[in-house]
Symmetry: C2
Subunit: 354 residues, 2 copies
DNA sequence: TTGTACGCGTTATCAA
DNA sequence: TTGATAACGCGTACAA
């Protein structure tokens, strides 16, 4: 691989002339530029990003910590972060929480690898806050942000969806359709999240002067079992004396589970029962019937992540003046599961991922 | 940030002693080791991977080129590659095809960034073969592999699923259930893929002495519209004089579209019509009814990717002796859409992602 | 405008 | 077993 000194020698100039040219081609005389460009072309020269990084201390690389490459909305957020990063000339290095743990707790005695040197760090949907706190401490001089309340730690700016508002919008939508008896089924992964969502539901109900008949709270051992939670939740609810005409859930998969129960028991959706989900996952769009839901503002959050990191990098790494929490609203997406005027099958315009 | 020389000074030894210790702690005397470890601890020293990379020429980083973070099975493969890489101490750098294009075609005159220096490259589900060929040429000394036939270029070892076998297994399953009139609906992204799949279907049919009644081939403008393709495909098929009792598709989403049509028209699945998908995507498991499908061997492919790259890296980058194409079989997953004895709703054991 | 000299943090070679 | 030194490829004062 040709190095800068080879280019210099071939062009008949010094290394620094070439370096200067690389930084700003117009800062050298036209004939010099010509010769340098010729040399670069002939030698197929590509600057070594490593040597450059050693000198300049920045790698144009951001570390993204996540375990959730496969789950919505985490994968969406990663997707958009990746693209926003590329726009700005940054590459994304992905690492799992487990690997971060290995790095953080490595005995310095053995081959304790430090994390690859990066210009910024993004924590998303991590579960071990204690670990993140330690790692953040270790990388104290590197700009850091986090996404989703589950990853919030003090001192690291965080972006998340406004969960309360999402459920509030959904509930209000149902109320607007004339529903009186509305139940809520939700999974609990995080008490703060649950409380926010629950409050959104209650606020909509109370603003409309509706009586709260029922709610279901399934416990946390059911992670990755949301469809089943919806199915079982429906069974419980249908045992009660007062049956709801609509179900609010905080997850599309729970809603899909509700639909499965209804199919099994001859309950028509939305004629007999309206059902809503949350997060606008791909399955919600192609479910039978398609499920009314609220979007996750992944593009907005991704843009926030990059803009915030860029600001911090420019300001030498400090989080000064950046709010600890930034909330993004979601959008209500009305589909057949609540609205009989919508198609019960896929529309040509629908763009399913895959 | 403390550097190795700081550790050396603090411990009272030379830089090379510390470097030697770092490489193999047992290669220095116990008392020396003690002092060095103390210094590392006190100064919170972490070796600079950048400086190390400048010296050793390897970064312990692999470049993964893909545009499909959101689609199955690409996301599954990425997920597993990421984990297999971490197991071996490698980090994964993700880059889109567009960015690769920018890098490859950058005018050397301006700020032509080279790709970050990496120890290996993985191309997955890329669409622009010409570009990949150029990039592979540019990075000629870096070990490279590709995943999925869509990314195959000569000289770069490729892993993919055995598509013919997947459809063959599916068709045989239907034949075993007693189906006589079986139709096939497929999307066309790639003629080679289509031919493989089609051949698997025909082979199963002919081996069983079945007559081939019908097939549908929807054209390529419908990428990301698979559910709609299934829906429309069913409409066409139901217009024919001889109606099938089973439908083979090459994609779960097409199968789900078929189901939607059936729901709309009172056709019971699987009583009146059996439907099969492919790729074992999450929606296939939670569809109504759950869809019989074939798995994608993502873990096996990911392991192949890493093992192959490790081999190439050890052997100095050559693909010598590595087959150009490695095919992995898939597994048939029988669900309600073909088998009436299976549950039509979600089972408690089902682990849905998200 | 161009060139010289040094340093970034590490590893490897060789000598002590 | 440990230490001095060169080299990896580049950027940047500073001098010419």
């Amino acid at each position: 691989m040709a190095a800068i000194k080879d280019v210099a020698r071939y062009a008949g100039y010094s290394v620094s002339a070439v370096s200067k040219y690389l930084k700003d081609p117009d800062s050298v005389r036209p004939d010099t530029r010509k010769k340098i460009e010729e040399a670069i072309r002939v030698l197929n020269y590509r600057p070594s990003m490593i040597a450059r990084a050693l000198r300049t201390k920045n790698t144009n690389t951001l570390l993204l910590v996540t375990d959730e490459i496969l789950t919505v909305p985490s994968n969406e957020v990663i997707y958009h972060i990746q693209r926003e990063a590329e726009k700005r000339g940054y590459a994304i290095l992905i690492m799992t929480q487990d690997n971060i743990r290995k790095i953080t707790h490595a005995q310095t005695s053995s081959l304790a690898m430090s994390a690859a040197t990066v210009d910024g760090i993004i924590y998303t949907w991590v579960t071990d806050k204690q670990l993140i706190r330690e790692h953040a401490n270790l990388m104290s001089s590197t700009p850091k942000v986090s996404v989703s309340r589950a990853a919030f730690i003090p001192g690291v700016p965080n972006a998340s969806r406004d969960e309360e508002d999402a459920i509030y919008q959904t509930t209000k939508h149902l109320i607007g359709l004339g529903h009186d008896r509305i139940a809520m089924i939700s999974n609990v992964e995080d008490d703060e999240l649950f409380n926010n969502r629950r409050y959104g539901f209650l606020r909509a109900m109370s603003e409309a002067g509706k009586r709260v008949y029922d709610d279901l709270r399934i416990n946390n051992t059911m992670k990755y079992r949301n469809v089943y939670i919806g199915y079982e939740g429906m069974r419980e609810i249908m045992d009660r004396s007062v049956r709801p005409t609509a179900i609010v859930t905080d997850n599309d998969f729970i809603a899909i589970g509700c639909c499965q129960y209804c199919h099994e028991h001859g309950i028509r959706i939305p004629e007999d029962l309206a059902v809503t989900g949350s997060l606008n996952t791909p399955p919600a769009e192609i479910a039978y019937p398609p499920v009314t839901t609220t979007s996750f503002p992944s593009p907005q959050i991704a843009e926030w992540v990059l803009e915030t990191l860029m600001t911090m990098i420019r300001s030498g790494g400090s989080a000064e003046g950046i709010p600890e929490n930034t909330c993004f609203p979601s959008e209500l997406i009305v589909r057949r599961s609540t609205d009989i005027t919508k198609p019960s099958f896929i529309v040509p315009e629908a763009r399913q991922i895959i």
